[in-house]
Symmetry: C2
């Protein structure tokens, strides 16, 4: 039984295709989502269906796999059952929890409405509607102060998501939109990236983080490092002693694991993640595994980062342990994380990448970033559509999916 059809859960399900087990993947969404490109949905570059595919369609040829669309509400460890919304429950012999992460507002859950995060397709289309509607409202607004507020976009969090969002919004405002508006100059939009730590992309080396910063500044993004956000409300953001009136605030500052810790009644590790043993099972329950963003896996003095390749490797490893035990073989060797590096893209023709000692910036990193993301997309259709959308955007400077699908929160403002 696998809970979650993201990178970790899907890798586990596929790795069990030849094992003498029957696999059920439970997810509350019907689709596997390619999260690394979700920010492009939020900035009108891609359609949701370009980067999502039904989990049951991906597994349709794997005849020992079954997919269930349901919301898991808890785990009964003693009776070995997973509880589902609606009162139903399902038994398991082995359980892989790959439930991923959700936005974490560090105790300020009331900020969630004013500063939506990027998790899932609904989050991305919501942000897309907010960004595009802010420009529309500014076009109709005659008061200069209110117009400035409408054209201010604050991104909270200077990690890869925040940097990629800031770059994409800057391109939207500077390149894609100017010719479409008559009363405002969308190039005058202020895009402010607020980061509490001392530098952007803290997980990258200092030269790369400085290169990303210079690039963003050249695109007109204002960067405020060392600024902790104190308040977010319907008016704007209060950070580092300054009030920034802004219609659109986007949360990219942190994620926490889904309530797996509560389900397992265990002590949470850093980021709400579940501490696991070297075989990725939990203490005292050798039949329960946690993989991906929900798991806290030690690596020396540090932890394995919450990246897609890590989740896939963990999912595959947990599957190999289950397959070995189901076949009566000894456990495989303990899992070792193979670091495939990190990358982040900043607008067109620029990215930073770090693979072990190798560091890349600029066009070369951007081409590598594109190749790798297209390669890891599942299915010929997604690859072709994403490449086409990118080629079209590259040559026309336009954005193809500029749809406002979410109704205005308040028709009067």
């Amino acid at each position: 039984m696998i809970v979650g059809g993201g990178f970790g859960g899907l890798a586990a399900a596929r790795a069990l295709s030849r094992a003498p087990v029957f696999v059920t993947v439970i997810d509350r969404s019907n689709s596997h989502l390619f999260q690394p490109l979700l920010y492009q949905v939020a900035t009108a570059g891609l359609s949701p269906a370009d980067i999502a595919r039904p989990i049951r369609n991906i597994l349709r040829r794997q005849l020992n796999a079954d997919v269930l669309l349901a919301e898991v509400t808890g785990v009964d460890l003693d009776r070995r059952r997973v509880n589902l919304a609606g009162g139903d429950s399902r038994p398991y012999d082995y359980l892989v929890l790959a439930t991923g992460a959700v936005d974490c507002y560090f105790g300020h859950d009331d900020w969630a409405f004013a500063a939506p995060g990027l998790k899932g397709i609904p989050g991305a289309t919501h942000i897309r509607s907010r960004i595009l509607r802010a420009f529309e409202k500014a076009e109709a607004e005659s008061d200069q102060g209110r117009r400035n507020r409408l054209l201010t976009f604050v991104i909270v969090g200077g990690g890869p998501t925040g940097v990629e969002m800031a770059g994409a919004i800057a391109e939207l405002a500077r390149l894609a939109l100017p010719a479409d508006f008559r009363h405002i100059d969308t190039r005058s939009a202020r895009i402010i990236l607020v980061e509490a730590g001392p530098r952007l992309l803290a997980a990258f080396s200092e030269p790369l983080s400085a290169a990303a910063r210079r690039r963003l500044e050249r695109m007109g993004v204002e960067i405020r490092c060392g600024s902790r956000v104190e308040t977010i409300d319907g008016v704007g953001v209060f950070a580092a002693g300054e009030e920034i009136p802004a219609e659109t605030v986007i949360w990219a500052a942190g994620v926490t694991a889904t309530p797996v810790c509560q389900w397992l009644r265990c002590e949470c590790g850093s980021g709400g993640r579940v501490p696991v043993l070297p075989d990725l099972s939990i203490e005292g329950r050798p039949e329960v595994f946690v993989v991906g963003d929900a798991a806290l896996v030690k690596r020396g003095h540090d932890y394995v980062p919450g990246l897609a390749p890590a989740a896939q490797q963990e999912g595959r490893y947990a599957a190999s342990v289950i397959a070995a035990r189901a076949a009566g073989r000894p456990d495989p060797k303990p899992w070792v994380y193979l670091d495939k590096g990190m990358m982040a893209t900043v607008g067109r023709k620029f990215a930073v990448a770090q693979v072990g000692p190798l560091k890349l910036t600029g066009v070369a990193a951007w081409l590598a970033w594109m190749a790798i993301h297209v390669y890891y997309l599942i299915g010929f259709r997604s690859r072709l559509l994403v490449m086409l959308e990118w080629a079209w955007a590259y040559f026309t400077f336009q954005r193809g999916a500029r749809l406002i699908t979410v109704p205005a929160d308040d028709a009067n403002s």
Copy 2:
């Protein structure tokens, strides 16, 4: 001032590009939508952004045109102002109302929740989510009776929309989905098309309507002509004395014009449409024009049908009248509807088409249908994406946009 960015409104705006006037297009959506392909969004064949493009992007090079995202609530004919939601209002010299049609439940507005219609992108993604979720629920259901109800799809209305929807759902169930499910045979799904009149596609000639009927029956669609729907509730449909338990009911039975009649305080014609003079203006107000589905235009003893080409021709004619008057020239000759014919597609490799005396069925009509729809799509991007999705669907028998984006209405059922 043009209200509505559909086929009629957009044609009027474009036709005024060289006139000595300033054009404002008001729409409550930011996008022009290619309605004829909307049923493919509802059946997971296309993404919304494939057939929608921002109105202001379409008009970006037309420097005398301005686009406003706003909801019109009424018209003040004496003061020549359009009232907007939120209390604002805008003045006009000439007004073109191209507000289109909405679903009409013939006095049963309580059916709207149980039987959603296809108007707009939200309607299409809602229907898509309902159809896909019905299959998901059936997969998880063990009771045979409840499973049969979940796998029953009723389409109310045998016009082009109903016929195209029925064909597309039949293909989804018979070709795209079977390999993905383990516990149900999606080919056993019942698709029932209910039509109150004596035959399908009443606007087409009898041989064409019979050909479409035979084709649908061969695809396994049950057709009930002469059946008036008496009740639609959360359980199913009661039609022609029979109770049909069905999870999914889709409304394709009728449209009515948006409340333009109320705005103009005039007497409604057939279908809630506004009777117009031969120059498409309304009685006593030569500066107010109504075009498209909102207008009731006489043609001999009949009326001009509510089709996209008619709306475009009306929009262009109203624009030519306005341009002539603004330039001080005499009015152009009265408008004559140029009938470009009608077509409807029934699944893969089959369509029916009727252009004056010329009648086509089968593959030839289907190829013509594809060519014409791709031709009329706006922009290279949409054309390329739609052709690609179609080619992919044709060769793989799959549907690319199988996303459930709308949450379950009730998690317990």
